[in-house]
């Protein structure tokens, strides 16, 4: 009888449970006001960068008579040194920045989660090996390394840049996750899972990782902000020969064209800087809410 009742409940379709999960997620996101605003701004920035270009075309025509115009209705953020609309460049220039940062953060987080938890949980020689590699990468100064690498490999592909950054950014996160895995390993429910012979992969992926999720998600977001600055820095120094317009390229171009020297040209250099700053601030604020969403204690449906 009771078994049948349980069966009946189980027939909750995937859509219903997904909808329930989504509703709970939004409720928890909204719990922290700062975090929720951050989340909304991030959503707005992503929409602007990915859907915006469909509506607002990139202005590529040189207009000699319109150089460095201050904001007007036609040009909400003024124009650049060739008389091109800055707003259209901002709208079209976010996509690549977000893409590279996301890719880099994703790769470094996956590496850190998989190897950090295995290192902590299994221990022994595997732990020593993983930690040695981590420490070696951690001691290499990354920016000079990327600069040197840029001299040998032509970093003209965004994907390549993202992958390269991802392959270098994982050590700090790995160390932190290993420490968490070491403390989780001692917990009774992990012991119980070992006694039940559930297997290493199950224990790592189903028992440990979900308990580290708040931390992992926050680290992912912080990894994204780091990658944004990293790529902006590389582009600014001219180490990455990317010519397609994006926020980092805009800053570099504005700098090279001397946009800081004229009162009217300040819009050109400030627009991409502010765009990046808003994105970063929004991502960091969003982490406050993400912590809540992935905290199992708050996840219960009602």
């Amino acid at each position: 009888m009771t078994a049948q009742v349980a069966d009946g409940q189980q027939t909750d379709s995937i859509f219903v449970s997904a909808w329930k999960g989504f509703r709970t997620g939004v409720r928890l996101l909204a719990y922290n006001r700062v975090g929720f605003i951050g989340f909304l701004v991030v959503v707005f920035m992503v929409l602007l960068s990915y859907a915006g270009p469909l509506i607002i075309e990139l202005d590529t025509k040189t207009k000699i008579d319109r150089i460095y115009i201050t904001p007007t209705l036609e040009h909400p953020l003024g124009t650049d040194h060739q008389g091109r609309d800055i707003w259209s460049q901002i709208v079209n220039g976010g996509k690549d920045v977000i893409y590279v940062a996301f890719l880099a953060a994703l790769i470094s987080t996956v590496i850190a989660v998989v190897f950090g938890t295995l290192s902590g949980f299994i221990g022994g020689w595997l732990d020593s090996a993983i930690m040695s590699v981590t420490d070696i990468i951690l001691t290499i100064p990354q920016f000079p390394l990327l600069a040197v690498l840029a001299a040998f490999i032509s970093l003209n592909s965004l994907t390549l840049l993202g992958i390269l950054m991802g392959l270098l950014n994982w050590p700090t996160l790995l160390r932190a996750l290993r420490a968490q895995a070491l403390s989780l390993k001692q917990r009774d429910f992990i012991e119980a899972a070992r006694a039940l012979d559930l297997g290493v992969m199950h224990i790592v992926l189903r028992e440990m990782v979900p308990n580290m999720m708040p931390y992992i998600v926050v680290s992912f977001a912080l990894g994204m902000t780091f990658a944004v600055y990293q790529q902006a820095g590389l582009v600014f120094l001219g180490l990455v020969p990317i010519t397609a317009g994006n926020w980092s390229v805009m800053i570099q171009l504005a700098w090279v064209r001397g946009a800081i020297f004229y009162k009217d040209s300040v819009w050109y250099i400030m627009a991409p800087i502010v765009a990046i700053a808003i994105l970063q601030l929004a991502i960091i604020s969003m982490t406050r809410s993400l912590e809540l969403v992935f905290n199992p204690r708050l996840r219960a449906s009602e």
């Binding site: 009771t2 078994a3 009774d188 012991e191 006694a195 012979d197």
Partner: protein
Amino acid sequence: MTPILELRNVTKYFGSGRERVTAVDSISLDIEPGEIVCLVGESGCGKSTTGRMVVGLLPPSEGQILYQGQDIASMERADYQQYRRAVQIIHQDPYASLNPTQTVRQMITTPLLRHQTQATGQNGAGSGRRGRRRDAGRRAAELLEIVDLTPVSDFLDKYPHQLSGGQRQRVSVARALTVEPKFIVADEAVSMVDVSIRVSLLNMLYRLKDEFDVTFLFITHDLALAKYFAWEGRITVMYLGRIVEEGPTPRLITDSRHPYTQALLGAVPEADPELAKKKVHIELRSAEIPSLLNLPAGCTFHPRCPYFVPGECDLGVPGLERIPDGGSVACPVRMEEPSQIV
């Protein structure tokens, strides 16, 4: 009959050099199938370490642990896996023993799906992934019913933080039952649960003994609980890593020989004031438990023991000697003497 579990001179050290601590010192124990054995002792006496070694979560430093006559350290892979599943542990802390990110349903169906041991899965009711899931769900509901978490539908989709301590402990038991264990180590399983819930939890555990032929190693610091749970079984008293007395529960409770056991019995509070007045209390010479880092020579109990005989107790470690009316005692001084305390 071969014992289901046998400890042979099992020793466990932690640390090394000067910091080395001997948590368990050469203990031997036979447990027959269907028996209930209680391991009693103060905190830090090595009883939990023993329990964790029995389950295979800690390897012994010395000595052997035999499951059904086979040494677990040298078992074939398949045999070891069988042993692993046959011996389960119920932890003390109900707040740490369940994964906070999983629902009760997930916790119970995962081992069922992995090991496919559920009885309902064999009658052909379910085939394929979907069918197996349904079988596991049905079996999970049955298991929850066995541990008295009814109505089952109220509990299947709860997270641990939505349950009380007693309910969590029942979920722990249900989870252990998924692999149809032959042997359960209950490590202080009821000590962190509200007193009012304890008896029903104990009765539920006791029922498993008959329904599933489970053998119990019941670890507790509370002799009163041991007396209640293992009246038909045996009690083994540990002190600082060594077994000091063991024997059938009625004998050990009414006619204990080792002064430490008597001290423990004297410490059990009685609700009835008349009984409390009649109770004998032995005066210990010291209330301090010696540090494991610096154990007294000879019998480790001698600095506290009222029957201390200088020149005898502080020299040699007393071995466990059989006594005629059941069990054995590690105290040559008290062995022959009448048990009544004057």
